[in-house]
């Protein structure tokens, strides 16, 4: 595992938060996914060894929680809320707009590798529906028009990066 030094420091620190090492499973998965982008077989084995548990104990956690992924995703992660309050405010249209803008389908990486558009369940901001979580930033009242604006901005940032 080729982890950043700060990730390793945070891993060693977070394990001390719990009387039992196994509790570090979710925190370690988060830290490694933030660092590397997804959870590989190697990462599972590495965490198991670090926490003195079996790889299956880590694997079963990875497959249970929707936020952990086994495959790389696009550079930006667009999570559109699918649940009722957002759907009542047009969340399905919002999601389709992002798919259309990036020429992709829900759950897939766009052809240019720039984004992964995903439908997720309730993001707990139903009063400002529809909402979209892009990487770690929540966007509120994302109508189709706003989805277009956000898409344009992401595309512009990608173009600037070259």
């Amino acid at each position: 595992m080729n982890l950043k030094p700060e990730t390793l420091t945070r891993i060693d620190e977070v394990i001390t938060h719990y009387p039992e090492k196994r509790s570090g499973t979710l925190p370690l998965l988060h830290l490694i996914q933030e660092d590397v982008g997804h959870i590989s077989d190697k990462a599972i084995e590495w965490i198991a060894e670090k926490l003195e548990i079996e790889p299956i104990n880590v694997f079963e956690v990875v497959t249970f929680y929707p936020m952990f992924r086994r495959e790389p995703i696009g550079r930006r992660h667009i999570k559109v809320c699918r649940t009722l309050p957002c759907a009542l405010a047009g969340g399905y249209k919002t999601c389709s707009k992002f798919e259309q803008e990036f020429n992709t389908h829900r759950g897939e990486v766009s052809p240019d590798g720039e984004v992964t558009v995903e439908f997720v369940e309730c993001l707990a901001s139903c009063g400002t529906a529809p909402v979209v979580l892009i990487d770690e930033t929540l966007h509120e009242n994302v109508t189709e028009a706003k989805a277009k604006e956000i898409s344009d901005q992401i595309k512009a940032e990608a173009a600037n990066r070259g």
């Binding site: 938060h17 009387p19 039992e20 196994r22 509790s23 570090g24 499973t25 979710l26 925190p27 998965l29 988060h30 926490l51 548990i53 104990n57 079963e60 956690v61 249970f64 929680y65 929707p66 936020m67 952990f68 999570k79 699918r82 649940t83 009722l84 309050p85 759907a87 009542l88 405010a89 047009g90 399905y92 249209k93 997720v120 369940e121 309730c122 993001l123 707990a124 901001s125 139903c126 009063g127 400002t128 529906a129 979580l133 770690e136 930033t137 929540l138």
Partner: protein, 449 residues
């Protein structure tokens, strides 16, 4: 007309201009004075005060907080843990998000008072994975409180020592169930535990006595400490004390959060007067009063309610006072305070199909009736929307729901069947005639599944 002015206690400073989430601002507004007061008292006295206040849990079940605390096994010799349930994930609920983002120290102070009252030496805040910014804000706030001597070693200069750590979930709704949450905190799949014998108050985290309380509930503890149980009891109605935060979403002019005393406003007042009524040219059709698992209410239906003196009265949906007991008397629940409103543009089969997709996605898969049943309900309602709809589908889907509730380890079984049971019971005609309705659906009809 009754008083429609909000009574803001928990949300007093939310969206207030100039109020920031750092400790300096919090202390300028009297922050941590109640913790200082608490650590000079006897823990059992604080517990008695909370019991006397009548505080009921704000996470969904509305269980007495004082009673929950009284179940804690204090003789085992094992450490006692307190876990803050910040897994806010019941669709329609978004109150904890604002507390965490804008007033995290209020939560930390309420947590520390509760920890002191229960001889807790270690607390965890279990925050849902979709709140990465919230988790960072909380960690920062805890560090500020640690540096100021309100968390960690020798709190407020006393012998008392208790730390708080933030633990992030990873997108599973079932972690809101307290024993599922505990399993998750132990690093496992969040399969809820069989109860009894494992009530968390006796055998919880690491098989030690554990208290799990909702974010809003712990904030209330701070205010009970502040005003005393006698004053707190005056807010709300008997057995429904304190304020409630109503999170209103869906088809109203002004969705958002509103804090009122329990029972201060009726459903009609909340939706028509406070939230500005239905959208232009529309009429209210239905409302889910306490998060998406609460049974739906149909505008136009009547409830016969028994008074204490044995006489009866009749309520329309608009007449129901918003408190735990009144909503229960109307056959639903106050739940988490998430009020989801639907107007006459919504077909109820579409709406149920959306809800069923949620619960099928979130079942932990441990109990067969729930794992299979939630999926069947999703498949049937989705087929109705995207494939062939048969007149008998409503009965079929209700039959599946009837065989889940009461047959599972945790309350998810009820949570996933109540929507189907109540939608079919109250909108049966729409299920029978859905095939016909589909033929006349406008091209721009709202897509819900």
């Amino acid at each position: 007309m009754s008083d429609l002015t909000e009574k803001r206690i928990i949300f007093k400073h939310i969206d207030e201009a100039g109020y920031s989430n750092d400790i300096a601002c919090y202390q300028k507004h009297g922050g941590y004075e109640n913790l200082k007061k608490a650590v000079m008292l006897n823990p059992p006295d604080i517990r008695d005060e909370v019991k006397k206040s009548g505080l009921r849990g704000r996470g969904g079940a509305g269980f007495s907080c004082g009673l929950k605390w009284s179940f804690v096994d204090r003789k085992s010799g094992k450490p006692i843990y307190l876990i803050v349930n910040a897994d806010e994930s019941e669709p329609g609920t978004f109150k904890d998000r604002y507390i965490i983002h804008q007033d995290p120290h209020q939560l930390i102070e309420g947590t520390m008072i509760s920890c002191f009252a229960n001889d807790v030496k270690q607390a965890y805040i279990y925050i849902r994975g979709e709140f990465p910014e919230g988790a960072r804000i909380l960690e920062q706030a805890i560090q500020e409180a640690r540096d100021a001597g309100f968390v960690g070693k020798n709190i407020c200069g006393t012998e008392y020592t208790c730390d708080i750590f933030v633990h992030r979930g990873a997108g599973a709704y079932i972690c809101g169930e307290e024993t599922g949450l505990i399993e998750s905190l132990e690093g496992k799949r969040a399969n809820p535990r069989i109860k009894p014998p494992y009530f968390p108050a006796v055998l919880g985290l690491y098989q030690c006595p554990t208290i799990v309380n909702n974010v809003e509930t712990l904030c209330h503890v701070k205010h009970i400490m502040d005003m005393g149980a006698d004053e707190y009891l005056k807010i709300g109605t008997p057995n429904n004390t304190g304020t409630r935060i109503f999170c209103v979403s869906g088809h109203v002019k002004k969705p958002g959060y509103y804090e009122f005393a329990c029972g201060q406003v009726t459903m009609g007042q909340l939706l028509n007067d406070v939230c500005g009524g239905p959208l232009e040219g529309r009429q209210f059709k239905a409302v889910i009063p306490g998060g998406s698992s609460a049974k739906i209410l149909r505008f136009g239906e009547k409830f016969t309610i028994k008074n204490k003196d044995g006489t009866t009265k009749e309520w329309a949906v608009e007449d129901i006072p918003l408190d735990f007991d009144s909503l229960a008397a109307a056959g639903t629940m106050g739940g988490s305070g998430g009020v989801i409103v639907m107007d006459d543009s919504v077909n109820m089969v579409d709406a149920l199909a959306n809800i069923n997709a949620f619960y099928a996605h979130e079942s932990c898969g441990q109990c067969t009736p729930c794992r299979e049943g939630s999926l069947w309900m999703k498949k049937i309602s989705t087929r109705m929307v995207h494939g062939e709809a048969r007149p008998e589908d409503g009965e079929l889907i209700k039959n599946v729901a009837d065989q889940i509730a009461g047959r599972t380890i945790c309350a998810f079984g009820e949570a996933c069947s109540w929507p189907t049971q109540s939608f079919v019971a109250k909108f049966g005609d729409e299920f029978k005639s859905y095939a016909d309705a589909k033929k006349h659906k406008p091209a721009d009809a709202l897509e819900l599944v």
